[in-house]
């Protein structure tokens, strides 16, 4: 009979643990990210990480894909990215052991030939992440949860050519060379001939 109170206490602690596990899903960070290029298009593709955490006590495979939202879900003042293949996610499927975290890599690669066509524009696309969490074998209806990471991209305001940089380098080299030349000439005068 003395065991019954202990059993009740044990159950009180166990039930919340079990139920919270049912309510947990993949945890994704960040939920929304904005990439801006204030200094012009970068020479290399842009790379960013999305962290996926598996809170389950069993391993899951998380998969990711890039997808444009429905036009009704598009944020005001944003448009679709002209070519969705410019955004890629690697790996497509990520193995997450129990209670672990790992990363998807998101790449943005706007072809150089296309860059001059897209200054001062704002795009929105989504990275959709889902897991193969077992839903159970019974029932004609099965739910699958997906999480959307909103990706906003702001292209550069305008072309920023290297002309100014080259000009300043040229002027700098001339001034420095002139100073060194004058110095050396003056120094030779101070050395008496034998």
């Amino acid at each position: 009979m003395k065991k019954i109170p202990w059993l009740i206490i044990l159950l009180v602690f166990l039930i919340p643990l079990l139920t919270s596990q049912v309510q947990a899903s993949l945890q994704i960070w960040p939920g929304k990210l904005t990439i801006s290029m204030p200094e012009g298009y970068p020479t290399e593709r842009i790379r960013y990480l999305i962290q996926a955490t598996n809170p389950y006590t069993y391993s899951v495979n998380a998969s990711a894909r890039v997808e444009n939202p429905d036009v009704q879900q598009l944020t005001t003042n944003y448009s679709y990215i002209p070519d969705i293949s410019w955004v890629t996610v690697e790996p497509k499927t990520l193995y997450l052991p129990a209670n672990s975290s790992s990363h998807f890599e998101v790449f943005l690669d706007i072809p150089k030939s296309e860059q001059p066509n897209y200054y001062n524009t704002s795009w929105e696309t989504w990275v959709i992440i889902s897991s193969d969490t077992p839903a159970g074998d019974t029932g004609g209806l099965v739910f699958q949860v997906e999480l959307a990471v909103k990706l906003f991209i702001h292209t550069p305001q305008g072309e920023q050519g290297p002309t100014a940089g080259i000009f300043f380098v040229f002027i700098g080299v001339i001034i420095t060379s002139g100073v060194i030349y004058i110095l050396l000439k003056h120094r030779r005068k101070n050395i008496p001939e034998k």
Binding site: T43, E146, N190, K194
Partner: protein, 180 residues
């Protein structure tokens, strides 16, 4: 005959000043020009606004509508499903479903008027209830606050006629969560 030794200053004070001046000019230009010359790596900015974790789930994840006659409805209770926002940000949710059942025997009718060998799903209890389509469309629920949940039900409308008595069918409904 002693050798006369030529003595001269190799570098006088004025020379030192000029060397210092040349060095300063060089350094000045170097500091100005280095970022321009090495401007190959254009910086980008990445911001998170709002910053936080997203985590949406629904329970239970299955439901059995049982045997349904043509033209009939089969509904869950109004609060059968619970959508949990376990993240730290306010979330919107959208629903979509496969265009057919897994066996492809039955076809989804997204308008709510299923005919031969077709069916429709309708949400019940969300901000914007409607027929579930095969692609994500309008948000069914907006602004589910972090740490809270929302209950809803689902209604299945079987087509007006069937070509045969189909065996059990199975399909998937996708629940997508995105930051509000």
């Amino acid at each position: 005959m002693g050798c006369r030794k030529n003595t001269y200053k190799l570098v006088d004070k004025r020379d030192i000043k000029k060397i210092l001046f040349a060095w300063l000019v060089s350094m000045l230009w170097l500091s100005v020009l280095t970022p321009m010359v090495l401007a190959d790596e254009t910086s980008i900015s990445v911001t998170f606004d709002p910053d936080g974790v997203i985590d949406i789930d629904v329970t239970p994840k299955t439901y059995d509508f049982g045997s349904i006659q043509p033209g009939a409805w089969s509904n869950t209770t109004a609060n059968y499903f619970t959508i949990y926002n376990n993240g730290t940000l306010s979330m919107d949710t959208q629903f979509k479903t496969n265009a057919t059942t897994d066996s492809t025997n039955l076809t989804l009718d997204a308008d709510g008027s299923p005919g031969l060998d077709s069916y429709s799903f309708q949400t019940n209890g969300l901000d914007t209830d409607g027929y579930i389509t095969a692609a994500y469309a309008v948000e069914q629920d907006t602004g589910i606050t972090a740490g809270t949940n929302k209950v809803c039900g689902l209604c299945l409308n079987m087509g007006s006629s069937i070509s045969q008595n189909w065996t059990s069918q199975r399909t998937t409904i996708y629940l997508q969560g995105s930051v509000s």
